[in-house]
Amino acid sequence: MNRPKAKVLIAVFAAALLVAGLLFHRGSSLRSLAVSEASVAPAAQPPLAAQERRSAAAIGRAIPLSELASARRTREEKATLAVESEAARIAQREAKLDPLPWGASRPPPAVDGDHAVSKSEAALPAAEKVRQTESMIERLRERIARAEQPSVRPASLVFDGSSRARERLLARMKRRVAELEQSLAREGPGATAEGQ
């Protein structure tokens, strides 16, 4: 065996060791991750047991074939337990709702003094804001006109169809139209159209 050949062999052996080391290192780091990030999908359609084993392994946690039978058994046990947890969940939800003031009278309106304006609204070009406000005024007028038609069934007229409820809703919408018109007229382009 001459020296150049030995060098090549040693180099090949070292490279193989390096590759194997890298692969082993990658595998162990994957296993150490709390949530695996491997993404190997089976190419063909192997038998079910092999499929389960492969897909389990693919997400970083290999399950021995001997454990699959017990895993299937636990499905039934888990189903039983899960039904019991539904009852507990309903009870807990109701217990969370119980302390709320269900019988309290309606509160006064929010002060809204420090009116929260979104960044996107603040960045909205004035002309676009005016366009949207004008369009909204038109929509509200259409809604009012539609609600005032006696032939139209009481859509958006607060359900019981009573004249008082209808009048209240109409009055609120008309007032809203007036507010939006005033804000446009008062402040011109760039006007905000907030309530109150």
């Binding site: 949207q132 809203r176 109150q196």
Partner: protein, 373 residues
């Protein structure tokens, strides 16, 4: 036509519920017009539709002795929604521009009022009750689509924001510009489950010390992006919530999450659950996920709450509001096989259930990859 819709609805739900035990719907003789009745899953009330068509729906919802009545109408890209509950009328007018105008007042005298925790609970319960119907029919029933989205908006509506308000459409982000659909974890991600995490933050007045730049005095509290007001790794999905107050799971790693509300803890970077990032309170029918909605969720679930007297999350709400109604749905509904919320396994599932190809386990201390195959 109404009877036709109802019949098809009944067929769908009869088959759906036979498989999964979810919400059920049935026909009820109602004189000239047949009604659609939806029994909400997990005993969360009863919805009755007197009318359910593409252009219009009308009905009522009964839960905990309260009756909520509703109407929704779709006309050429314009929508009108009206809801009455607990002596209050809520009204929404949605324009083709994407802008919408809201109002809310006392039913008795037409004077202004405010949203309360009870109102939100009732509205959210209705949205939850309609979840299965929404997923099955919203694409063909615009009146239902907008109605459910509007419920989602009102279910998140703070006490401290006036009910009478116009929200402007985004100029630069119409369509899906601010959507996070690509970051949403949903079924079909393959057997090699790769979790997708998203960053979320908020600003507020929380002060963590005098000599710190993390929520310190220089920024008058937490700035957007500060360590303590930021979650580096939110796992967004239609994953249900746990039994704690906000229903969300938090942890310092992806393997130790539990259901609780951290208070600006700089060590907590992982979170998931209760449809974290969805536009709407917790889980519901519609599936918009945006950065603004995610930031709002991160705010109310991290040491603040919707009815916070300091209104810490009102600006996040104002930023997110338009996304509830305008953006397209991301999809991503999960088939949960075992929901452990409320049980002794909540946040304490055996490790052998994780990624074990043994069905989707929800409300564990980890996210089960089986939910996303």
């Amino acid at each position: 036509m109404e009877g036709g819709w109802a019949l098809r609805g009944m067929g769908f739900f009869a088959s759906l519920c036979a498989l999964s035990g979810c919400a059920s719907a049935a026909l009820e003789p109602g004189g000239e017009q047949e009604k659609v009745v939806v029994v909400a899953p997990e005993e969360q009330g009863l919805v009755t539709f007197d009318e359910l068509t593409a252009a219009r729906l009308e009905g009522s919802y009964e839960y905990r002795g309260e009756t909520l009545r509703f109407e929704s109408e779709a006309r050429d890209g314009v929508y009108y929604v009206t809801v009455t509950l607990r002596g209050m009328v809520l009204s929404a007018t949605l324009d083709t521009t994407g802008a919408f105008d809201l109002d809310g007042y006392n039913d008795a005298d037409g004077t202004d009022t405010a949203m309360t925790a009870v109102d939100r609970a009732l509205i959210h319960a209705l949205e939850s009750a309609l979840t299965d119907l929404y997923r099955a029919r919203a694409a063909e029933l615009p009146a239902l689509d907008v109605f459910s989205r509007t419920l989602g908006l009102w279910s998140d509506y703070p006490d401290t924001v006036a009910l009478r308000r116009m929200f402007y459409a985004r100029h630069e982000r119409k369509g899906s510009g601010s959507s996070l659909c690509d970051n949403l974890n949903k079924p079909g991600q393959g057997s090699g489950f790769v979790p997708r995490y998203t960053w979320a933050s908020h600003d507020c007045l929380k002060l963590k010390g005098v000599f710190t730049t993390d929520c310190g005095p220089l920024t008058a509290g937490c700035a957007y992006g500060n360590d303590s007001s930021t979650l580096d790794s939110v796992f967004m999905s239609m994953h249900p919530g746990g039994s704690c107050g906000d229903g969300r799971f938090f942890g310092t790693s992806a393997a130790n999450m539990r259901c609780y509300e951290p208070d600006h803890d700089s060590n907590v970077e992982f979170a998931y659950g209760d449809c974290f990032g969805r536009c709407g309170l917790g889980c519901g029918g519609s599936t918009q996920f945006t950065q603004a909605c995610l930031d709002h969720d991160a705010c109310v679930s991290s040491g603040h709450w919707t009815a916070n007297p300091l209104s810490a999350c009102d600006d996040e709400f104002a930023e997110a509001a338009v996304d509830y109604l305008v953006l397209s749905n991301c999809g991503g509904a999960l088939q949960i096989d075992y929901n452990w919320a409320g049980s002794s396994y909540e946040g304490a599932c055996p490790a052998s259930w994780k990624n074990a190809n043994d069905g989707c386990d929800a409300a564990c201390q980890f996210v089960d990859g089986d939910c996303f195959r």
